[in-house]
Amino acid sequence: MRPGLSPAEIQDLYDRYAPGMYRRAFALLQREADAWDAVQESCIRLIQAASEFRREARPMTFIYRVTTNVCLNMLRSRALRDVAPEGEGAEGSVDTLASTECRDFLVKLARELDERGLTVATLYYLDGMSQEEIAQVLGLSRKTIVRDVQRISVLARELGEPRRPQGGAA
């Protein structure tokens, strides 16, 4: 099998997944320009990992993992914590209040958690994923995620746990 992706495949991948990537990126970064940068970077990472991406039984878990990692890295490296979010006119947000609340909470958590912990917290609080889904997205055992969520929950209660979206529950 060809290891890379053809231009047509890349275009199809982009058209199919970029809107969701953007929604996730905006929820975390709260700025359109940063969110589009994150989409671009995530797409490039997908292209670089084409062989791995092709093998995914659930490609969306790969998309979520890559996009989340890119955004969290941006949150750290660009010090976006000090950048004011954009107003309600921005196209990115679906759940403005919920995502803003979650994002602020994640920024607090970022000071306390390691990289994996923050990723788990993002998938748990921002995406409302079940522990089973988080395990699938991160390619880790459910047992590991259960332990991580327990650890994060203790910390989260101290910091003021946000509402979780409708989708998942532990």
């Binding site: 890379g4 992706l5 231009p7 890349i10 275009q11 982009y14 058209d15 199919r16 997944y17 970029a18 809107p19 969701g20 953007y22 929604r23 359109e32 589009w36 989409v39 671009q40 797409c43 490039i44 292209i47 670089q48 659930r58 490609p59 969306m60 878990t61 998309i63 979520y64 196209e91 990115g92 679906v94 995406d127 409302g128 994923m129 079940s130 089973e132 889904e133 997205v137 979206p165 409708q166 989708g167 998942g168 529950a169």
Partner: protein, 252 residues
């Protein structure tokens, strides 16, 4: 578990995946899916969506044009020069005149190898200089002469002792020189390094020579006037070792 589908599942549905039975019977999930779908449609209609798509395609095309080899962890390859890659001194068409008489390959191939003293050189593509003091960003090609041996393993060792296979690229052992494989091209970054070529009659494993490389610099052990070693101690019989020490200066 929640009674509702997560955005992950709804995104899969929106991307053309299977619809879970729950979605057909749950108004809340249908509403959520419709909301996510409408949002995706609005995003697709923005100028940024097209702009970023163009950038992604452009970056992907640039990547595609680059050879897949790497040299050290931070080095970039030179895509535009890939067509000039065959500068190694082996094979029926290249380098025979300057390197000596042609002899039939003794093992592993149908090509003709170049006879002559073993050597390894780096050729700067800009001006053709051999083993010059390089500047960061210089494009170079490997030039090998095996002294009649059919296999080669070329590695770089940086100042920190980090060993990386240059040819075959990223390999764990020797490659057959009669294979018509393009020579790798590299764009160098700053630092000092030694390029070692180990030529042999039989393939060698990188792990088997790694320790030996760690103990030897570019010089031939026991010979003060040559960087070429015929049958150096510690390597299998009929093996030759050639090395070149190079420095890469910072770009002006």
């Amino acid at each position: 578990m929640s009674e509702h589908l997560s955005d992950l599942v709804l995104d899969e549905v929106l991307a053309g995946g299977a619809r879970p039975p729950h979605l057909e019977s749950c108004g809340a999930c249908q509403e959520r899916a419709a909301r996510l779908g409408a949002h995706a449609a609005r995003v697709r209609a923005t100028p940024d969506f097209s702009r970023v798509r163009a950038r992604v395609l452009s970056q992907a095309a640039e990547r595609e044009a680059r050879p897949a080899t790497s040299w050290f962890s931070a080095l970039l390859l030179v895509p535009a020069l890939a067509s000039l890659a065959v500068v190694m001194l082996w094979g029926p068409r290249f380098g025979a005149e300057e390197a000596g008489p042609e002899v039939p390959a003794s093992a592993g191939g149908q090509g003709i190898r170049v006879k002559g003293p073993p050597a390894v050189e780096l050729l700067r593509l800009d001006d053709g200089q051999v083993n010059p003091v390089l500047r960061e960003g210089d494009a170079v090609a490997l030039r090998l002469r095996s002294g009649g041996r059919p296999y080669a393993l070329v590695v770089s060792v940086d100042a920190g002792g980090q060993v990386e296979a240059l040819w075959p690229a990223g390999a764990v052992g020797s490659g057959a020189l009669d294979a018509e494989v393009p020579a790798p091209l590299f764009q160098v970054t700053q630092g000092d390094f030694v390029v070692h070529a180990i030529y042999s009659e039989m393939p060698l494993r990188l792990d088997d020579v790694r320790e030996w490389l760690g103990r030897h610099g570019p010089e031939c052990p026991g010979a003060s006037d040559s960087t070429v070693c015929q049958e150096p101690a510690g390597l299998p019989p009929a093996t030759a070792h050639a090395a070149v020490s190079l420095a890469v200066e910072a770009a002006p």
